[in-house]
């Protein structure tokens, strides 16, 4: 028995070492991006590569901001992202409530179709949806990127929210009905606080999804001053192909908001991922 314990402890030591080494390798691209963003272009192009800058050039950032106005791009991105988060939370929880709490004709059918649409590859329909938007003269701007969030908020989110609602005892709703509350009030005042973790997770993931999206903005936003941050970064790289220090500084600024958001909302991110993976 003692041998077995020892063997177990030894494997744990080995596992710790492997996990730490691979973990450092996983962090390496972040380190490399950050370190390059503080170098001069000459230092960046040194071979063999330098591990750290000889002097940390903090003024790379003000310079990068002058050629890559990231604050404006962030505001643009937020203009799309924030309403979309609201839309997704609102419409997915409404649909989830209907599926979890109400009985109505064709319920099973709709549920199957809505959930089945989870498997639908979105890239297939980019052309007709673009055509439809240009038909009503709205194909250049933020509208086509925001409106879909208000149309159901995605099958995965509806499903997640419904699964969560199913775990909450109906006694609460019934008491509220007796008190004369309507369904809107039951959902938003009584149930929403109880399913807060899943709502926060959905909100965070929607934020990241919209913040990181590139294909959508490429299709619908043509004016530079309206560009989202991912889009602007892609353009910046093709336009400033040799100024790597600024490209690296711009990249650091672009990835900071999602990373900070993750660090703040870690618990909900992990929970959300687990729920979507295990409940499905």
């Amino acid at each position: 028995m003692r041998d077995m314990e020892n063997a177990k402890r030894n494997t744990n030591v080995i596992v710790t070492i492997i996990i730490s080494l691979i973990g450092l390798a996983v962090l390496f691209p972040f380190f490399w991006m950050l370190r390059s963003s503080f170098m001069s272009n000459i230092e960046i192009h040194k071979y063999p590569p330098l591990l750290l800058p000889t002097t940390w050039r903090l003024d790379n950032y003000p310079y990068a901001l002058s050629v890559f106005p990231s604050l404006r791009y962030m505001v643009n991105t937020l203009t799309i992202t924030l309403p979309s988060v609201v839309g997704v939370l609102l419409t997915s929880s409404l649909a989830a409530y209907a599926f979890a709490r109400l009985d109505f004709p064709l319920k099973r059918l709709w549920f199957t179709i809505v959930i089945g649409s989870m498997l639908m590859p979105g890239a297939v329909t980019i052309i007709p949806i673009f055509v439809a938007w240009s038909f009503i003269g709205l194909s250049n701007g933020y509208t086509p990127l925001i409106v879909p969030a208000f149309l159901g908020g995605g099958a995965v989110n509806i499903f997640l929210c419904r699964q969560f609602l199913m775990t909450i005892p109906r006694d609460l709703d019934e008491a509220a009905i007796i008190d004369g509350a309507g369904h809107v009030r039951i959902l938003f005042q009584i149930l929403a606080p109880l399913i807060r973790p899943v709502l926060i997770a959905i909100g965070l993931f929607t934020f990241i999804l919209y913040w990181n999206d590139l294909l959508g903005p490429l299709i619908y936003i043509s004016r530079t001053e309206q560009n989202t941050i991912s889009q602007a970064l892609a353009n910046f790289r093709s336009g400033f192909g040799t100024d790597w220090k600024s490209i690296m500084a711009a990249s650091c600024m672009t990835i900071t908001p999602p990373v900070v958001l993750f660090l703040i909302g870690q618990k909900y991110f992990i929970e959300g991922i687990v729920l979507s993976g295990l409940k499905a």
Binding site: V15, K107, A132, G153, A234, I270
Partner: protein, 295 residues
């Protein structure tokens, strides 16, 4: 007291569902019909479209230089990324499931690449892959290996992109880890009592109980990775010689850069059927290897 099916409840339910149903029709069902319709025309988005029957499809299957390359590139990428991603994530999750210090910290470390915008990932990896000054070639040099043109060499471009994408699959690790924590200890202990070793536990308890999670990860990441776009757009433009000409990139290029909506819609429709068929095959074969508890 159960919520009964009253006319009033039905009305409420349909009102609550209205946004989702509108989305279903306007963002999925009608657009699919639209793809079919536009694919039968030569529409450029500017002039009046003319009906060309199956002309676009005939062209794609007979003369289109890019189509087959694109199918090969997309399949190679999706299978390569999903299979290596599952192996990587499962291995990391198994290790993170041991009693090791700072487990939560490492879990976050492995997860973080998942939330980085793909354009950011592409840029920093492009810099590491750079053939003259890049750190990866320097690492090879230290090992006495010659420089590699990571993204320009037809042999290495795809594996390089796959490695980059797998780096960003942190969400799978989290799902696997949660799945592993749900494997009942009593089952594993039963194997120990019967004299089984770690491999027996892994092979006969962990793997079978994890098949539903593996299936979910496989299916979902297959569907999303078949739609890979950003690396082709930002790094390779489909090069070298069409090796990374992913389907969605080809559709985007034909539709929005060449303005041939007819051709791009025909490609979209083929792409749709292609993914649907693949999904059906995955579901059909899953019955053979998936283990359902309580069966």
């Amino acid at each position: 007291m159960k919520t009964r099916m009253t006319p009033q409840n039905t009305l409420t339910a349909y009102l609550f569902l209205a946004p989702a149903l509108l989305g279903l029709f306007f963002l999925t069902i009608f657009p699919i019909l639209g793809v079919v319709g536009i694919s039968l025309t030569n529409w450029s988005g500017l002039e009046k479209p003319a009906f060309v029957g199956l002309g676009n499809f005939k062209q794609i299957f007979t003369v289109d230089f890019y189509f087959y390359r694109s199918v090969v590139a997309t399949l190679y990428f999706a299978f390569g990324a999903v299979i290596s991603g599952i192996i990587y994530s499962f291995a990391i999750a198994l290790m993170l499931n041991q009693r090791i210090p700072a487990r939560g910290f490492w879990r976050s470390v492995y997860f973080i690449p998942y939330i980085v915008p793909s354009i950011g990932t592409c840029i920093v990896w492009a810099w590491m892959y750079e053939s003259n000054f890049g750190v990866l070639n320097y690492a090879l040099h230290l090992l006495g290996i010659n420089k590699i043109q990571w993204l320009q060499d037809p042999r290495y471009a795809m594996p390089s992109i796959i490695a980059m994408v797998v780096w960003g699959m942190g969400s799978m690790i989290v799902i696997f880890l949660a799945g592993l924590q749900n494997v009942p200890r009593s089952y594993l202990e039963a194997v120990e009592i019967d004299g089984g070793n770690a491999w027996h536990k892994f092979r006969h308890i962990t793997i079978p109980l994890m098949t539903p999670v593996i299936f979910y990860n496989f299916l979902m990441s297959m569907i999303s990775n078949l739609q890979i776009f950003v690396p082709a757009y930002a790094l390779t433009h489909g090069e070298p010689s069409g090796k990374t000409l992913f389907m969605v990139f080809l559709i985007y290029r034909e539709g929005f850069m060449q303005n041939s909506f007819g051709h791009a819609s025909a490609l979209s429709l083929i792409f749709f059927i292609f993914i649907a068929a693949l999904t059906a095959i995955i579901f059909a074969t899953s019955r053979r290897w998936m283990f359902y508890e309580g069966e």
